[in-house]
Symmetry: C2
């Protein structure tokens, strides 16, 4: 098994990009990532495309050959991976495995979602298709309702407060304000967040992530090749996928996301590192409570202590373990298929010292984490600076 | 790299199954394939789901965890692969690679499509999303129009006739009539096919495949384990994916599907066999002309001689190289995501001597072939009897 590294890495502007087509997002992310990779386009052997619902949002299915064609390499094989919000992260895992084992010499992984194409209620209906169809969607149990249950239970069991949730939002807004590619580049203070309209109690308007257009891409290859082709390669040292029942009626816990726990265990084992070794993380903050669950389930803090850790500033850029330096799904935005790839790009740019005002000091080991569904699936990837 | 074999293999009834839900299709295929595999459900390490458009047909995305949950193993990780009509075949390839390299000890590959849920024009619109969106769909260049171009050019260059096309249909209808799980189990004679209403000249009603509901599943594991667990394992000795521009305006040829040629070359090379070694094949006859192109591009016949070979009966069950013994997409039916997996099931059941009246004599080496898009992608898998 070969070690695998990323050389090329790029994220487009994220936002509600009314005048930008999915074609343009794909072109920009793919061309720039390959340009950064040290390879030429015609050397790319395989394309993995992470995308949730271009068939719904863009009347486009079989997105793999579309990506290949846009990049001018229509004869390059491709595969479309759909695992809801973990589509991009899982595509990176797949590319890593196929290169580690010598099936391909390299691969382009491109995550994309152009979501702002429909009326808001139709958009919500498309997103809700990732829930359990018979025991979730049919009972109108949407994502905010689900995570509100987790928030309520977490508050009851551990004393987590609405202020703790709000402080996740203030932190991520503050980080996003320092990220020129973030969807929302504006700090919002605690009082305003606390007073925001309620969505599903206890989650208010600022506890919820964004509906975003964007793309991101990375180029993977054996680490020995990466060292020759790029001055600042980043190695993927661990990757794990974990599952739990996607049906909200069958959850074993409402204070822990077990898919995260299972994915993290696999990734840490492969990487031979422990949570305390990680210098920074991009995690799936689809809701503010989710980030609190994540940082506990990933092992950065003990179960029940996540909200307090946030309140103490331990997850700020200057804290013990910076979390969502990019602004996260809350502020950088959440183009579903792109998110896992964009998280990797943030980790890589942090390691390369390219992140300006939001630069973290210690960047040797970084972790990304995405969830998919209600949630039914999680993916954790661990990266090591290799220069 | 480990050798990989299939033990469990199962296909549901194919058809316009008005009273059968996608949930029931998944349950039957998954349970029966695992029951045939020698493994128990809780031993399954990974699930790959081949599906084209459950989000459109069934308001269901993130289908992986849904499959896991239906099978009663919700904590088993999963991944949804979408490569249009090659989704199932590519899922098998992926599972093979991941097992060959030791990432997983086994995997369930389940292909499914429940298509008969919408009005016919809406169904056609969903299928057309697999074409090139800007230079195909927007100009209403649908699949029949595209393959009519190939038929016209093939006829002009090689003297292929409308009777040749019709004889592909009579053969596949005759084979399907012997397959109790086929969508259409009825022989139709040449005169009736020749007189059928025209769809897109020269393709008539009987030159076109069906809109089908169905599922199929296989269980893969290292060949050394398969030999211990099943008396009749079947080895996957070659797998290839090939691409060409999905935009009909950019085709290099209208008498050859280059994605097939490229996929076949890879599969033959890996399998260390040549086309003349293959005993039987299930190929992508989305249209009758496509089967003629396929049997040439796969190397069974010289370019231009496919139609004449069909007319001579060389592709009948009793012929030199039996093709689409199951009835093919034309008669067995074409539930998009299931097709590549169902083809593998037919090859395996032929090797196991379970195919009754449509049984082929020589069954040592079998090949499956699927196309996706306009077409933009092809997958070829080669199987060897291992008992």
């Amino acid at each position: 098994m070969k070690e695998v590294s990323i050389t090329g890495a790029y994220q487009t502007q994220f936002g509600m990009l009314k005048t930008v087509t999915i074609r343009e997002l794909i072109f920009e992310a793919g061309m720039k990532a390959v340009a950064d990779s040290g390879l030429t386009l015609d050397q790319i052997e395989m394309i993995y495309v992470g995308n949730y619902a271009s068939t719904d949002f863009n009347d486009l299915n079989l997105i793999g050959p579309y990506v290949a064609s846009i990049l001018g390499i229509p004869n390059t094989p491709s595969m479309h991976i759909e695992n809801a919000c973990s589509s991009g992260a899982v595509s990176i895992q797949l590319a890593k495995s196929m290169i580690a084992t010598g099936v391909y010499k390299n691969a382009l992984v491109l995550g994309v979602e152009k979501m702002n194409t429909k009326a808001p209620d139709e958009t919500m209906r498309i997103i809700a298709k990732g829930g359990d169809p018979e025991f979730g969607n049919s009972l109108s149990v949407s994502a905010p309702s689900i995570y509100a249950l987790y928030a309520t239970r977490h508050m009851a069991d551990f004393g987590t407060t609405k202020e703790h949730l709000a402080m996740v939002a203030t932190k991520n807004y503050a980080n996003g304000a320092k990220n020129p590619k973030a969807h929302k580049q504006k700090e919002i203070d605690l009082p305003r967040i606390m007073k925001a309209p309620m969505i599903t109690s206890p989650l208010g308007l600022h506890d919820v992530s964004l509906v975003t257009d964007g793309a991101a891409a990375v180029v993977l290859m054996p680490s020995e090749d990466a060292k020759k082709l790029h001055p600042k390669p980043v190695r993927i040292i661990g990757a794990g996928i974990g599952a739990e029942d996607n049906n909200i009626g069958n959850k074993e816990s409402f204070v822990s996301l077990l898919s995260t726990v299972r994915a993290a265990q696999k990734a840490y084992t492969e990487a031979k590192v422990s949570p305390s070794d990680i210098n920074m993380a991009e995690v799936h903050d689809c809701f503010t409570i989710t980030e609190i669950l994540d940082i506990e389930d990933l092992g950065f803090f003990k179960k029940g202590e996540g909200g307090f850790a946030v309140a103490e500033g331990q997850t700020k850029i200057t804290g013990k373990i910076p979390v969502n330096m990019s602004g996260g799904l809350k502020s950088k935005g959440h183009p579903i298929g792109a998110t896992g790839v964009a998280q990797a790009v943030e980790i890589i740019e942090q390691m390369r010292g390219l992140t300006g005002e939001r630069q973290v000091k210690q960047t040797d080991l970084g972790l990304t984490h995405t969830l998919g569904g209600s949630p039914g699936i999680a993916a954790v990837n661990i990266f090591r600076k290799d220069f």
